[in-house]
Symmetry: C4
Subunit: 201 residues, 4 copies
């Protein structure tokens, strides 16, 4: 099996996810600046989700640079990741519309946790599909950032249960995790640089 | 004619179908956990349809690996398959909204049956377009899984007419067919392995 | 300039146009078969538009097989074609919702006429961008089918002004034109076969 | 890193942006010509936004022809551009629905200004990622058109504050900028012609 169609399909799904979120940002009813500004929670939720999908696209791109062989398990692990990502638009809309109420915030963080788990499973499936590919295996070893984000997502999913300050802290945690991931996986870049050129040319 | 644009177009349509289904999962009105959980039929319908579109993408990918030459008939057979798949989002929403009422369930199963028929017609068109390609012809011979699914779809389309237990059975049948297809076509993989490398490199 | 990105972008837009039309086919309110069947005009309009977009994709694919060099004018001629095609979803919904009232039918036929004109302009722009490419120039010479369709679109846009029989005739004309175009441009295929292999491999 | 996936992802997002704008052009309620014509501001806003997204796709295409090496910064600069472009559909709908009221017009022009700034930042990121690529550096030097458009966007964002004539002038300015950009960057084409062939073949 070759990887170009799985990349094309994932690019398509991620491009649609990142773009249909904007459909939830309905045009304000009134025509004054205040009508626009009153929508700030929906806009903020849109920005955060846009950045998260951007991060996943970026890391997906980096991940598949290392891939030479895929299996049926990789395909399903990839669809599993896309499934949890596909829920982001509706959960973004829910969190924004509710002005970041406790339950929508917690469910939003939970979905990000499941995306993170799905990404880790995808990495494992890729390593199992091609045991000779030590590049990725070396690169994901350790994984401090993954552990930190997993912990942060769990805390961010539970914090909103403790009233308004919890919601604020939860939001800050999710923004913090996003900032931590804006730089893509240097480990893969470094290992790739060591191991030679593995780009599709 | 070359196959890369038909693959790209199909990937695009399948990526959009799988992603716009989530637009029907509207954000709940209230902001409690109960408001989310009350939507379980829509969520379950979304999961099942997501898996079905994933299966079709997977098998479409496998099918076209074997293809070297396409014809106008292949193009229309492919569009015919995409047509029935394109109805899945609206039928998924109908089945979910109705909490799996008899008619929406039956129509949903009927559409899956028509997708299956369209896939078989596409296989035939591909074989006719390139009679020298014995790989696919060998691979689809027999086709126990196809026959089992066709039967299951027909039964699943009729069962809901027999009251609530029929609806449950119908749902179980459709989930069973999906599970049966999660592993993509081993026959093509095996024949490909025997016949050498036929991947796009 | 190379043609692969213009093809990829056009495939993307056509895939989205063909798929978002289904969003207008809202799930019926009730859960009986009658609720579904009452939507027949929307479904029929969807089928016709799906076939038309399929025809345009098909012919666009054939057209670009002949292309070796593109210019800025080709890009804009291509966007011009996509513009008129992009109106099909909303006009399809209008024609279907109105149960094929006179004005929506006439406007729908008018949009198809403009798509046809835009396709002819795109062919001209491609020929001008690469005068050495005699393949396409030979292939489009004559063009009986184009003339017939242009005439049919004009008649179909005017007929609905003459009451209900006019609407029926207009619909039949549009279906007839679609049937006439289901077979893609044999002339290009023939010329290509004569002139050697011009596929992207 | 290779550029083909960043191009594919951008093509996908731009194709979706340009196409979902049409979803805001809802089918008119009535079935008379007057019902359609009453929607002219939404249609005009759609045409202008369609042309703007077309221009950005065109220039994005030209820009990446010169690119040989990309970095993480280029990826984020590209996502930043896509972010502001992704707001066009909802702002187009707002401007059209309000029949070009002052605030929606000003915000629309502001978003176009931010798109222009993001495009300039993307050019800078590309130049920094590959300092050896003097092609683009030479091409963007000077940049009269960029300066003119930046000024025009700022004026167009402020003009609507001065009543109805300001709104008309603002609209004319935005149409003028679009016309100025319909011809893609000749400088890149010229430099490319001088510097040899840099197309993806």
């Amino acid at each position: 099996m070759n990887k170009s169609r799985i990349e094309a399909f994932s690019d398509g799904v991620l491009a649609i996810i990142i773009t249909i979120m904007v459909l939830e940002l309905k045009a304000p009813e009134g025509h004054q600046l205040g009508d626009l500004l009153r929508n700030w929670p929906k806009f903020l939720a849109y920005v955060i989700s846009f950045v998260y999908v951007g991060i996943y696209w970026n890391n997906h791109h980096h991940l598949f640079v290392t891939v030479k062989r895929i299996s049926g398990a990789v395909m399903w692990a990839n669809l599993h990741l896309l499934f949890w990502l596909s829920l982001l638009p509706v959960l973004t809309a829910w969190a924004g519309e509710s002005h970041f109420a406790a339950v929508p915030m917690g469910v939003y963080a939970l979905d990000l946790l499941l995306c993170g788990v799905a990404f880790a499973l995808l990495q494992q499936a890729i390593i199992r599909a091609d045991p000779g590919n030590t590049l990725l295996a070396d690169a994901v070893e350790g994984g401090l950032r993954e552990k930190l984000s997993t912990g942060a997502y769990i805390v961010a999913a539970l914090l909103p249960l403790f009233g308004l300050p919890g919601v604020y802290l939860s939001g800050l945690l999710l923004i913090g995790v996003a900032l931590m991931w804006i730089v893509p996986d240097r480990r893969i870049e470094r290992v790739l640089a060591d191991g030679g050129r593995h780009d599709r040319s």
